[in-house]
Symmetry: C2
Subunit: 365 residues, 2 copies
């Protein structure tokens, strides 16, 4: 869950941004089916209010392609397999297109043996984890997706950026209620939140960042000065070792299990930074899973209990009468509803970036 603050100068319809995004990927040599899919994943982020992971990243993907670090028509393949598992070499493709396909493989396996799990190596960033996890929902399955990412987070007691914001997502089907979707970076704050504070030049809450010496800081520009993001739970006095543990879990599932790069070797998303030498694996890594609910109990019993769970938590006693208790995933569904009606607000810098991309590639924006 990231940037929800509105810096909009203009709003665009989903269709406008989808068409442009798709054209850009096609310009880069992506085939029509994959360009549809990649645009759908990016727009899902914008629709759900995860503004940092949507079209704001489009030019970044293009630059990775220009630097020959991303392959827009990968010959991805399954390199290892059992009835409930698979490992995929993504052939330097975008996680945007490979991760949904990995999820479909997990779902097919779950149909056969109850659950399916796919580890992916040699990939690039996959957008929002929720897109991939939520594919499972329409099959009455629980969906899981995680990825490692460029190192920005320091382990407890360290000054070194060793882990990405390494998100994990769990999506649970429900009956009449909205599904429960827990989608979270394992750092205290996602980098997108820091970027917002930078634009506003406002201090960030204590517990988000440390300076280059490992001292707590509220300076939103600390990362550029050698500082690091803090793991969920913040410092050691609080519970930062737990966030460090969770980020490690995501790193190991995504990369050590798949054969991708882990820790400080994860290649940077920004093309102006070169990957480290002597990489222990290939590209970045993801991990996805699908679990058939009726492999455990009848789906109707599960959905009835999920609806009851959601209703009971929603109605738990409030601290402030005007602030309802929120179900994980609920804010994103609400933003999506708003943006379906009112369009997607983009901030000035993102619009500038898309316009210059349009100029460069000679595509209409």
């Amino acid at each position: 869950m990231e940037s929800k603050i509105d810096f909009s100068l203009m709003t665009y319809t989903k269709q406008q941004l989808f068409n442009f995004t798709k054209s850009v990927f096609i310009h880069c040599g992506m085939n029509n089916v994959d360009a549809n899919l990649a645009a759908d994943v990016l727009l899902a982020a914008d629709m759900r209010g995860i503004d940092s992971h949507g079209v704001a990243r489009l030019s970044g993907y293009v630059r990775l392609w220009e630097a020959k670090r991303a392959n827009m028509n990968p010959n991805w393949k399954i390199i290892h397999e059992t009835p409930s598992t698979a490992t995929i070499d993504a052939d330097k493709g975008l996680g945007l297109t490979v991760a949904p396909k990995a999820m479909e493989i997990a779902i097919a396996k779950a149909k056969q043996v109850g659950t399916g799990w796919v580890a992916i190596q040699n990939s690039n960033h996959f957008g929002i984890a929720a897109y991939h996890a939520m594919i499972a929902l329409k099959h009455d399955m629980i969906g899981i997706a995680m990825t490692n990412a460029s190192p920005l987070v320091a382990p407890t007691f360290s000054t070194e950026k060793m882990l990405g914001t390494n998100p994990m997502c769990y999506a649970f089907p429900s009956g009449n209620q909205l599904p429960v979707v827990v989608d979270m970076a394992t750092s205290s704050a996602a980098n997108g939140k820091l970027e917002i504070a930078q634009r506003l030049n406002k201090p960030v809450p204590k517990g988000w960042v440390q300076d280059k010496n490992g001292i707590d800081s509220t300076d939103p520009n600390e990362l550029k000065k050698g500082g690091a993001l803090l793991p969920l739970g913040s410092s050691h006095d609080a519970a930062g070792h737990k966030g460090y543990g969770l980020g490690s879990v995501v790193d190991i599932f995504s990369a050590v299990l798949s054969g991708a790069n882990y820790g400080p070797w994860v290649p940077p998303f920004v093309s102006f930074l070169d990957p480290l030498k002597d990489q222990p694996g290939k590209g970045i890594g993801h991990f996805v899973g699908a679990m058939r609910v009726d492999a455990f109990r009848p789906i109707d019993d599960f959905k009835n209990n999920m609806d009851n769970w959601i209703t009971r938590f929603k109605n738990s006693k409030r601290i402030n009468e005007n602030q309802p208790v929120i179900i994980p995933g609920e804010p994103e569904f609400e933003i999506q509803k708003q943006r379906e009606q009112n369009g997607i607000p983009l901030n000035e810098k993102v619009i500038e970036d898309l316009k210059s991309l349009a100029d460069k590639l000679k595509i209409e924006f």
Copy 2:
């Protein structure tokens, strides 16, 4: 990871405490094999320094048995099954004995189809999650264990205790290094840490608890006055919604998927509090999993990369030269080594409790 502070007045050998614990369970009608297992699980907590989950809880299990809420010789059975999944009805048994058996079932399924996942309903507390997850390690598998627990944690924006400290554990095998074991409550602080502060009558750090009105507090006795524990990440300004999300994931896997009680309906561990009426499920719930590493890639490649991961993180740049960067699980292995040599220190209150248990049951302590 809980109480590591030493309030010891006396130390005991593992064997002394094991023999007593086993005798107590046998007194309660448990068979010899299960009594061995239950004692092994409790002593693993004491050996690993999770003092709140070891023999300190023995009299609590006995009181659950006296209240007829725990069945010491359960006729547990698999009530639903696919090649990679199973659901178990624990017949009111102790999680201490049913969870390791569920893990063995998960491991057997993983041998067949790559991964195995078992949800357990109608159970009682299972001790430390790490015991169960780590069973997978000797099979070169990744082990996962989680459980829900008596409600103590308030969701973000709520004053009501709706979630347990709901721990999750992930255990990853390694080569020459110690395994990576992430075992953590999804609250900011486990209840055991609060109990230590109560004994010392010392304020707790901000971010651990809130008072009955949902206001941040540093009073270690806040829970007794209608307050609640805070989820990992603390308040909403920090990242408490993430801990609330993680606690929800554990609750749903453990109970909604298994058919156990969830949220506020989880029966209290303490026998003097009655379970709520109109329960939606049976007992408390657990969820365990085993994943064969070589279902994804050759085990030697994985272990080499794990050793490299561990070494690199250990050697990441320190904030303070005298405080090494810690690998998840490392402190528990170190305490275990110490206690194997020096015995298990018990605090006065625990010794008193065990002595009065011994008197009551006429078992030598």
